[in-house]
């Protein structure tokens, strides 16, 4: 009992025309792909079981006690038993259209979703129960993505709800339809495929220079060296040696004194920075259900830091510290920026949902060590709520990489346990700072920009 969905009028991608039911629909050979197939299941609900007892008890009692009215009640029992027995599976033919008020919102934006279901079949569908396939990581913030209705042939029903967009590319799941006849004795379930996608990408807006200073005072940017050589800023002059570029000869001096001297400029060297995001299951923490979790906040911070570092002339790479591997080698340029952007919004490692795969610390650590360029500095994004990640930061530091930690605070203060965890995190931060690792604490409700800026100011003082 499976029928294919055929794309309807071909007007919009989001439209799904389906026909399901026993033989009511002929499978369409032009159906696009297998996952646009409607799965249907029909079964008895057994809710009317026992209704014939009304007929038997009333009839039996009526005849034994000689009460004609009681005997007549038996007729009602017979009628309902027949009503239930007569039910058959529905043949549903539905067209589903879903409209999103904004298919490409920014994270945190509210998107209105409107679903219209039209009965394309010949017969009335008396009882339709619809549950929309809202993507899992997205929360419905207004309205209900469920609807109960009944549709005559050609009639349509619409229901609306609003979701708050979260980072990522979210594909809407099939619309679940449970159809029943009048009596509800038989139920038919269909899962109608749709093709709607909510594409929610981080804006990738760089943090300001002031904020970046928290990361660059010691770290990156155009790291100025005290070595004279090629560059822009004047450093010193020295005696001309054969082989020096003509452009670097101090011609003024030559005109004045006749000597040949070579100009030396302050040498500049771009730094290599790797953004390391803690995406272990242990990092998926939030103070309460209404606020974003630490990994979302880490990614948000990383997507602001990444372009800023890149703009400042650094080679920037990305790595995930979690069960799923993600690695973007340090690089420069527009293409690199685009690659980073798509990595952040759609790579599995940075999923808005906590991973279920096992995480092997030592394996991941070894691979990272191999990959990190020797001179790479590391910016670690982690809520710092367990000792493993603190150990990790120290190990990376011990391997000779400068480590700065940006830590979104996911602790709450409503229960003793939450407060204690806050204290433990504070102790962990203190210990890291004691070991020479910089930690930028980003409290809840504070933007990365603000947290970095205030830390940067403190450090530069």
């Amino acid at each position: 009992m499976t029928a294919s969905a055929s794309t309807g009028s071909g007007s919009a991608d989001a439209d799904a025309d389906v026909a399901v039911g026993d033989g009511a629909a002929t499978p369409d050979p032009t159906a696009e792909s297998t996952d646009r197939t409607v799965e249907t299941t029909t079964r008895e609900t057994r809710r009317w079981r026992g209704i014939s007892a009304v007929a038997l008890v009333a009839g039996g009692a009526g005849i034994v006690l000689r009460y004609p009215s009681l005997f007549l009640v038996g007729v009602i029992g017979v009628a309902y038993a027949a009503y239930a027995r007569a039910a058959t599976g529905l043949s549903m033919s539905l067209a589903v259209e879903r409209t999103l008020s904004d298919p490409a919102p920014d994270p945190g934006d509210e998107v209105e979703v409107s679903v219209t279901v039209r009965n394309e079949g010949e017969s009335t569908l008396p009882d339709l129960r619809l549950v929309d396939g809202v993507p899992d990581p997205i929360a419905v913030t207004d309205g209900v993505p469920r609807h109960g209705t009944s549709l005559r042939a050609g009639e349509s029903a619409t229901f609306e709800y609003a979701v708050t967009a979260g980072r990522g590319v979210h594909e809407f799941d099939r619309l679940l339809v449970v159809g029943r006849g009048m009596s509800g004795a038989v139920e038919t379930r269909a899962r109608v495929p749709t093709a709607d996608v909510l594409r929610c990408e981080s804006p990738f807006e760089p943090v300001s220079d002031v904020a970046l200073r928290a990361l660059t005072t010691r770290h990156a940017g155009r790291v100025e060296t005290d070595d004279g050589g090629e560059g822009v800023e004047f450093h010193s002059t020295r005696e001309y040696r054969p082989g020096d570029a003509i452009s670097r000869i101090d011609w003024n001096r030559h005109a004045r004194t006749g000597e040949l001297a070579t100009l030396r400029f302050r040498q500049e060297r771009s730094a290599t920075v790797v953004l390391l995001l803690d995406v272990r299951e242990e990092a998926y923490l939030r103070p309460d259900e209404d606020r974003p979790h630490a990994v979302d906040r880490s990614v948000e911070a990383a997507t602001a830091v990444f372009p800023a570092l890149l703009d400042a002339g650094n080679r920037v790479g990305i790595a995930a510290f979690g069960p799923t591997e993600a690695w973007l080698p340090p690089g420069l340029g527009t293409d690199h920026r685009a690659r980073a952007r798509s990595l952040f919004s759609s790579h599995d490692a940075f999923s808005p949902e906590a991973p279920e795969a096992d995480f092997y610390f030592n394996v991941r650590m070894r691979r990272l060590r191999k990959r990190l360029p020797e001179d790479a500095q590391v910016v670690l994004f982690s809520p710092l709520c367990d000792d493993q990640v603190a150990r990790f930061a120290r190990l990376v530091d011990a391997h000779g990489h400068l480590v700065t930690t940006v830590s979104p605070d996911p602790t709450g203060d409503d229960t003793p346990g939450h407060r204690l965890a806050g204290a433990e995190r504070a102790a962990r931060i203190t210990a890291l700072r004691g070991a020479g690792i910089r930690v930028v604490d980003v409290p809840a409700e504070t933007s990365t920009e603000a947290a970095l800026a205030s830390t940067g100011k403190r450090w530069s003082r």
């Binding site: 038997l56 913030t141 109960g148």
Partner: protein, 166 residues
């Protein structure tokens, strides 16, 4: 944001079911006072069914109201009232059970009025049609009802229900 949606029965059907219980109880009580306590208990069971979403409470609401109908029939209440009461008992259970099913699948917050109305209309129409039909037949045939006819009909019901499993 809650972790679970409240999967409780929709209130509209519950209100209609409660109204049906009340009307049937009043009608039966008018002829046989003994039906009233059954009706009151049925109302309580209906309230539990709607409040908690317990299917068993919905079944009890139907059974209690049916008990009231049987009691009224024994007290020689008019045949039409008994028939309507019996239909009402089935309708009450059907409405409550349907509301619970809707609640489990869609939750109380979802808009389900239309399907509830259609379902209730079907159930009520059947009750009225069958009551009126059988009462009409009963009146037409009048006093000449031979007992043997009824016995054969009951035999038919027993034999067929044992096969149909409803």
């Amino acid at each position: 944001m809650t972790d679970e949606i409240p999967r409780l029965p929709s209130l509209h059907s519950g209100v209609v079911a409660a109204a049906t219980v009340s009307v049937v109880t009043l009608a039966l009580g008018f002829y046989a006072a003994i039906a009233v306590p059954f009706g009151v208990l049925a109302l309580c069971a209906a309230a539990v069914a709607v409040g908690r979403g317990w299917r068993r409470a919905a079944v009890w609401a139907g059974i209690l109201l049916f008990g009231g109908v049987v009691a009224a029939a024994v007290e020689n209440a008019p045949t039409l009232v008994v028939l309507v009461g019996a239909g009402g008992a089935v309708v009450v259970w059907d409405l409550l059970d349907n509301a619970i099913g809707l609640g489990e699948q869609l939750g109380r917050e979802a808009d389900t009025r239309r399907t509830e109305v259609v379902h209730a209309a079907g159930s009520v129409a059947l009750a009225f049609a069958v009551s009126a039909g059988s009462y009409g037949l009963y009146s037409v045939v009048g006093g000449g009802k031979p007992l043997s006819a009824l016995v054969f009909l009951l035999v038919a019901v027993v034999a067929l229900t044992s096969v149909l499993r409803t």
